[in-house]
């Protein structure tokens, strides 16, 4: 087992997280007095003193950074401007909703995209194949907010089938999930198709076919696992894209997640909330990427097995 690979990836994740925190810290300091930036207009002199003490603003920069990180690790992100509530509390209320939406969207993309890709690979150059390949560009270039609005127009306003705002029932989930999922679904289909085609043309598959092997067995037991590597890679790289997209989609569908919270906080300059969400989202991204890297490491035999392994 090439342990070095996993260690390097973990180290990279740490460095990226660290860079993110430094970046946010830097941005905050650059815009002037952090106390002024982070406290609402009607804050009293005492509030300022208390804030300065809490965040160590009178101490040298390095110490400030240390205090900054320490506070974060304790879950202390400050208070929101809007209502004075603890930021961490606000976020933790809304985070599950976003995770739910993102998770379902990714699952949707995979569940629909992969079979489409397999179908396209097995029925190469048919109309279905060409159509599926076309959807990839469609997904890549379609503005997701426009797609969402069109869905609302058709399914909520004209047909009255689905609700257009909120998150109470699973019906509420459908449209936002499909909107986010569709952006990358086409690309998954495309990658699955080319990975499958690649594997299906390998000599050992052709000999198995010649020997009369069951086609299903061939596809699912032999071809698909080998095609898994590029597919996992492309899923990994697209997670970031979908997270970015979810920020906008949560707005379109009034989904009460942290994406929506982020945008509304930016609009009113509720900086404590913005700062916290960015760091948490960033951290989530880094963890997701790390998970993908680990999965890749376990799948790719070149990394999983070294020459000296028994």
């Amino acid at each position: 087992m090439h342990v070095k690979y996993f260690l390097v990836k973990t180290l990279r994740a740490f460095i990226t997280t660290f860079l993110l925190v430094v970046f946010v810290f830097f941005v905050l300091r650059i815009t002037g007095d952090p106390a002024q930036a982070m406290l609402p207009d009607d804050a009293t002199e005492e509030d300022y003193i208390e804030f300065r003490q809490l965040w160590g603003l009178d101490k040298p920069l390095m110490e400030q950074f240390y205090v900054y990180c320490k506070n974060f690790l304790h879950g202390d992100f400050g208070q929101s401007y809007k209502d004075g509530r603890d930021v961490f509390e606000i976020i933790s209320q809304r985070l599950p909703k976003s995770v739910w939406l993102m998770g379902m969207s990714i699952i949707f993309s995979i569940v629909v995209g992969l079979p489409l890709g397999i179908y396209a690979a097995l029925h190469r150059n048919s109309f279905g194949d060409r159509f599926i390949m076309g959807t990839a560009v469609f997904g890549f270039s379609m503005p997701n907010f426009f797609l969402g609005i069109m869905f609302i127009l058709i399914f909520s306003m004209k047909l009255h089938w689905l609700p257009s705002a909120g998150s109470d029932t699973w019906l509420h989930l459908l449209m936002p999930m499909i909107t986010i999922g569709m952006t990358r679904m086409g690309s998954y289909a495309r990658y699955t198709r080319s990975a499958m085609l690649n594997v299906l043309s390998k000599p050992y598959i052709i000999t198995a076919k010649a020997k009369g092997a069951n086609r299903n067995r061939m596809v699912y037991l032999h071809a698909l696992p080998n095609a898994a590597i590029p597919i996992v890679t492309v899923i990994g790289t697209s997670i970031g894209h979908m997270v970015g997209g979810s920020v906008v989609i949560e707005n379109v569908f009034a989904w009460p997640g942290i994406g929506r919270l982020l945008v509304s906080s930016v609009a009113v300059r509720d900086l404590p909330v913005v700062q916290a969400i960015v760091i948490i989202m960033g951290l989530a991204m880094v963890l997701a990427n790390l998970l993908v890297d680990f999965t890749y490491g376990l799948l790719d035999p070149r990394i999983r097995v070294t020459a000296g392994d028994k």
Binding site: R12, I15, T16, L19, L20, F23, V24, V27, L28, I30, T31, A37, V137, F138, F140, S141, M142, P143, N144, F145, F146, I149, M150, I152, L153, M157, R190, S194, T237, G240, H241, V243, G244, G245, V247, V248, N251, L262, V263, S265, V266, A267, R269, L271, V274, Q275, V278, M281, G282, M285, V286, N289
Partner: protein
Amino acid sequence: MMSDNVKNEKVKFEVLSGVVGQETKLQKVFRKVPPMIMLCMAWLLFMFIVAVFWEQFAPFDYEEQDLANRLAVPKIFGGTDTTHFLGTDSLGRDFLSRLIRSIRTSLLVAFCGTIITAILGTALGFVAAHFRGWVDEAIMMMVDFQYSLPFMILALLVIAFFGNNLVFFVFLLGIEGWNKYARMSRGMALSAQNNGYAVAIRQLGASPVRLYTKHILPNVSNILIVELTLNFPAKILAETSLSFLGLGIQPPDTSLGSLLSFGRAYMMTNWWLAVIPGLTIFLTTLSMCLLGDWVRDTIDPTIRK
């Protein structure tokens, strides 16, 4: 020897593709352009003309309000208004003029952003490849950082703290996607170093700047051009998304994203106020993506997707 027409075509392709050594090949290929791609080029040309000559095309002042004539339904959608070809918006402003102005703003911002990103990314990639060592490590760390975080999140953070005046916004867009250029140009520069001609040319006494600008850059131009065609739609999407959220282009100026955002509230009755801007964005980005794919397949089919 060569007729002027052919010569001009040659120059045009040199400019279009930057691929100096393969003019004749490109000429042959251009005759085989599929109709779909022709359509894309036509649409993009149309958008380009509208963007450049927006003042001539707009029938009204895009900011002029006419509160007595709000949300007028134009003839083409079954209404009575004949002065405003696409009707008016919620403040009585001529929708067609606003659309035209939006096209101009969105395309201009996306174009500037694309150029900034290309220059920034390519230069940093070259710097990383040339100096190696800790400079390379530092730059690649920034590239990884950019790859691992969605641009939207970074953009929102920066806008929250710095505000969004126009020039600043364009530079912010310039940060989207620089990592792709950096990785590509670094890769090309490294392979040039290994290939030998970088060594040979340095051996002749050429300065590093000369090596990168006169030799490596033309060799990378293939891939860079393809990346440009893919980056431009990404810029449009980034800008319109942020404007849609109200955080990008600010009033009184207007973008396709903000048009869509305003039009959304009136979708029940005046659906075109939302559909038309959205469709414009989609057709433009789709055309660019299809064109980019075709350009890539033409110039070098061996580039992996």
